[in-house]
């Protein structure tokens, strides 16, 4: 069963992460080293505990609001009664929601070695790969009334080629699993993005409705270094 998920790399993590009395829950992802995400194959309920009778947390979706194949970040794994369960980070409100899903409802775990870190204090975006910083750029973040939510998230989809109608967002936008805590009625549900801009002169600073803005050259450079499924930490 272990090999279905992550293989030997996970096994090495277990010894360090799992205390003896809770050895059944194994940590899967380690941002900046190797993290894992998985595409959703079946729209099942995520539950508060690894049990089919546990409280429902949220239902997985096969497609994102932007019509891409939906995915979740995999945090932990365990086995109960011979069935493998995975704790995943869910792209739902409130931010930071996680839930347990049977491993069978997800596709095979996909490794990702990058980790995007956003600092709302220093207005810096940093991409770490294999433990090393490979990208750094100044950014704009949410204004005080619409702050960029802090916490652990992941990159959920990528939008590009949308033309002049979206030129405000620059040439490319990443969709994250984060949602604005203030703009709940925003079209699309108030998703937080990481994107380019038509107003690069405002960067760095608190300039947005909650999204992370970069200069267009930076977002295009980031695209080459970071793929969908990358964990995102906002501090």
């Amino acid at each position: 069963m272990l090999s279905r998920t992550v293989g030997a790399a996970v096994a090495l993590l277990l010894a360090a992460a799992a205390p003896a009395h809770a050895a059944k829950i194994e940590r899967v992802s380690r941002p900046g080293k190797t993290s894992y995400y998985a595409f959703v194959d079946r729209a099942e309920w995520a539950r508060a505990k690894p049990s089919t009778s546990a409280r429902k947390v949220a239902k997985l979706t096969l497609r994102t609001p932007e019509a891409t194949d939906d995915l979740v970040m995999v945090l932990d794994r365990t086995e109960t009664r011979g069935r493998e369960w995975l704790r995943v980070r869910l792209p739902v409100r409130p931010n930071g929601t996680t839930g347990w899903v049977p491993a069978s409802v997800l596709g095979e775990l996909q490794p990702v070695k990058t980790w995007l870190k956003i600092s709302t204090k220093t207005f810096k975006a940093t991409l770490v790969k294999d433990g090393k910083v490979v990208f750094r750029a100044p950014i704009g973040v949410g204004q005080s009334q619409w702050p960029t939510p802090r916490g652990q998230f992941y990159i959920r989809a990528k939008l590009k080629g949308y033309g002049s109608a979206g030129s405000f967002y620059g040439p490319l936008a990443f969709i994250t699993s984060a949602t604005s805590n203030q703009l709940t009625d925003w079209p699309g549900g108030g998703l937080v993005g990481v994107h380019g801009t038509s107003q690069p002169g405002l960067i760095p600073g608190k300039i947005s409705h909650g999204c992370v803005r970069m200069r267009n050259a930076d977002i295009l450079k980031l695209e080459k270094l970071m793929k969908v499924g990358t964990p995102l930490t906002v501090t």
Binding site: F39, L71, G107, G161, G166, G193, C211
Partner: protein
């Protein structure tokens, strides 16, 4: 035609013309030959015990050179149980004369119920002309004629030949048995009501080939019917027997059913090779590959494929060739399992091969997941 020739063999045993004392003259004046013709005819060619053969006798004295014949007696003898023409006799014509150019006269039918000894395949009847006088000269000749005619008792025959596609190896195995059924009847005659059974393999299917007219269930002499049956075998020695049977329907009734059997033995050894090496005594017939797991392969997505092989050495190389030509290899463990982690660069067909096998499995790499959209962002901005 050939059968007709065989069955209608008529042998003129002898026409004996010997000198007799002179007491008459040649008649007609210009005649010079014995052209008395006696034919024995039967209404059935192929028979079995209990059938009735109706014999008849035709007599004429036609021919441009025919001489008168007088005082002839024609006797017919039916077959004896041993098949020879020495059974009970019947006087067909008694002390009669046949003048030259006398037309054909038929006598009979003379029924005979077949009652042959076991093993007798040919029955002969005979007609004999005795004590006739041929008016062919001043010194007349004596006329004696013997003719025989045969009927055939066919010997129905069937043959089954059974083979297994795997005769030995590592258990478990799905073995497909092939049965070939031949018509060995002599002379060649069609067989009816063919059946085929096997004492171990319960679901014999067929004929799957060789039956030129599948609707009549009749095995022609030149046909070879093929049946098949597949069954799983575990560890052990398995000797199973196929039995093919058929009937020969002749003159409205069946002859005794004939059957033939053929054995086939297969042997399979425990499935886990000791020390990762297959047993030396195992006769490896083929390399098999069970359906690999992890077949939901998508381009650009890392996928683990487990390939379960059988009848290959531990450590054998399993190779998957991805669309575009890139290959990924892994070796089988002591249980024949090889694990490959692949990321197909694009969609298409991937092929999995095991070192000792030809292409054994194919899988389709589907299109990559959609992670990029051209929709205008609706993020908070």
């Amino acid at each position: 035609m050939r059968r007709a020739l065989l069955m209608t063999t008529m042998a003129l045993v002898g026409v004996l013309v010997t000198a007799t004392p002179a007491s008459a003259h040649r008649n007609p004046a210009n005649c010079d030959a014995n052209q008395l013709d006696v034919d024995l005819i039967r209404d059935k060619n192929l028979v079995k015990n209990g059938d009735v053969i109706n014999y008849s006798v035709d007599v004429d004295n036609l021919g441009t050179r025919a001489c008168d014949v007088s005082g002839i007696t024609v006797v017919m003898r039916v077959p004896r149980p041993d098949g020879l023409p020495f059974g009970p006799s019947t006087i067909v014509v008694g002390n009669q004369s046949y003048a030259a150019q006398d037309p054909l006269r038929s006598f009979g039918p003379f029924p005979y119920t077949v009652n042959a000894n076991p093993g007798v395949s040919r029955l002969e009847a005979q007609v004999i002309v005795e004590r006739g006088v041929l008016h062919d000269n001043n010194v007349h000749s004596e006329v004696n004629i013997h003719k025989t005619i045969g009927s055939i008792i066919p010997v129905p025959g069937i043959e089954v030949d059974k083979t297994a596609d795997i005769k030995a190896g590592l258990a478990p195995q799905n073995v497909t048995y092939t049965f070939r059924v031949y018509n060995r009847t002599a002379p060649p005659v069609t067989l009816d009501n063919v059946t085929l059974t096997d004492n171990l393999c319960p679901n014999v299917v067929g004929p799957v080939a060789g039956d030129t007219n599948p609707t009549d269930n009749r095995l022609q002499p030149d046909e070879v019917w093929e049946y098949r049956c597949t069954m799983p075998h575990g560890v052990g020695l398995f000797n199973n027997t196929a039995t093919a049977c058929a009937e020969l329907i002749l003159n409205g009734g069946p002859m005794p059913k004939v059957c033939d059997t053929d054995d086939e033995t297969v042997q399979f050894t425990p499935p886990v090779p000791q020390a990762g090496v297959r047993p030396a005594q195992a006769q490896q017939q083929r390399c098999t590959l069970s359906t690999p797991s992890g077949l939901r392969v998508r381009a650009g997505e890392r996928t683990t494929i487990r390939v379960q092989t059988r009848e290959v050495d531990a450590g054998s190389r399993v190779t998957i060739t991805l669309p575009g030509g890139r290959t990924v290899s892994a070796r089988t463990n002591s249980k024949g399992l090889a694990t490959l982690r692949v990321t197909a660069p694009r969609s298409g067909t991937a092929r999995i091969k095991v070192a000792e096998c030809s292409a054994v499995e194919r899988l389709t790499v589907r299109q990559a997941r959609r992670t990029v959209s051209r929709q205008v962002p609706r993020v908070t901005g």
